[in-house]
């Protein structure tokens, strides 16, 4: 149970436990609960009135910009972690730090730009 695969085997075991808990709970629920579906009960709930149109109505994609910002920045952050673990190791130093500032500077530039262009506001 040691080493790389061992570690993740433990994680996997815990995952199975979690799924087991869920499955067990649902099984118990199945035994305990009543089951009497009626069409009204299965109707989509819209504050009590009859539902209008489809549930998957097309909605405005104003979140898209944020999604994009996130994808860009979060993925940039991928580089931070390997860097963060080694940058203070012997042999690295100010230069490494400066490089990361350059990197962060570009990220910050992106945010400043987005902010100035009012992308972050509500459109």
């Amino acid at each position: 149970m040691d080493g790389y695969f061992g570690s993740y085997a433990v994680v996997g075991a815990l995952l199975l436990i979690g799924v087991g808990i869920f499955a067990g709970a649902m099984t118990a629920n199945r035994l305990l609960r009543p089951h009497r579906p009626t069409p009204e009960k299965l109707l989509t709930y819209e504050c009590g009135v009859d539902p209008v149109g489809e549930g998957w109505a097309q909605s405005h994609v104003r979140y898209y910009v944020f999604a994009y910002l996130y994808v860009v920045f979060a993925v940039d952050a991928v580089f931070l972690f390997p860097w963060a673990t080694v940058f203070a190791a012997p042999g690295f130093g100010v230069a490494t730090l400066v490089e990361m500032f350059v990197f962060l500077g570009f990220i910050a530039l992106g945010i400043v730009y987005a902010w100035r262009k009012n992308v972050l506001g509500w459109t």
């Binding site: 898209y64 860009v72 991928v78």
Partner: protein, 127 residues
């Protein structure tokens, strides 16, 4: 674990991606298929890196960059798909034909069919 397993999984993943690219007509699904292909690449790289005990960890570094590239591609790709959808109300790559080759009147036989704009247009579908 022998390196063949992840390599085969990666190859299968890649093949699924290729199938998706070739068979799907919706631009977003094509994009997702490409993501599968890229993840196959990542899997390969990481598996090989571990297997080779690469001291430079070239494979892992490349993986990081592939992840970033994939993200950037998705971002740009979705933006373009959205722009196209706004203008055309469709993202079916087969129906984007405004730019197709105009059918010349009385095209002389023997010349190759203009790929990308022929009546059946299968050649353009790999896009």
């Amino acid at each position: 674990m022998h390196v063949v397993y992840p390599a085969v999984v990666a190859a299968l993943l890649f093949s699924v991606g290729v199938y998706g690219v070739l068979a799907r007509r919706n631009a977003i699904l094509v994009l997702m298929s490409v993501e599968l292909m890229l993840n196959a690449v990542n899997l390969n790289l990481v598996a090989f890196d571990v297997w080779l005990r690469d001291r430079l960890h070239g494979g892992q570094v490349l993986t990081l960059f592939v992840i970033v590239i994939a993200a950037a591609e998705v971002g740009v790709g979705l933006a373009i798909v959205l722009a196209v959808f706004r203008n055309r109300r469709t993202v079916d790559v087969d129906r984007l034909r405004d730019l197709g080759e105009p059918e010349p009147v009385g095209a002389s036989p023997g010349e190759p069919e203009p790929v990308g704009g022929g009546p059946d247009g299968r050649a353009g579908d790999a896009a």
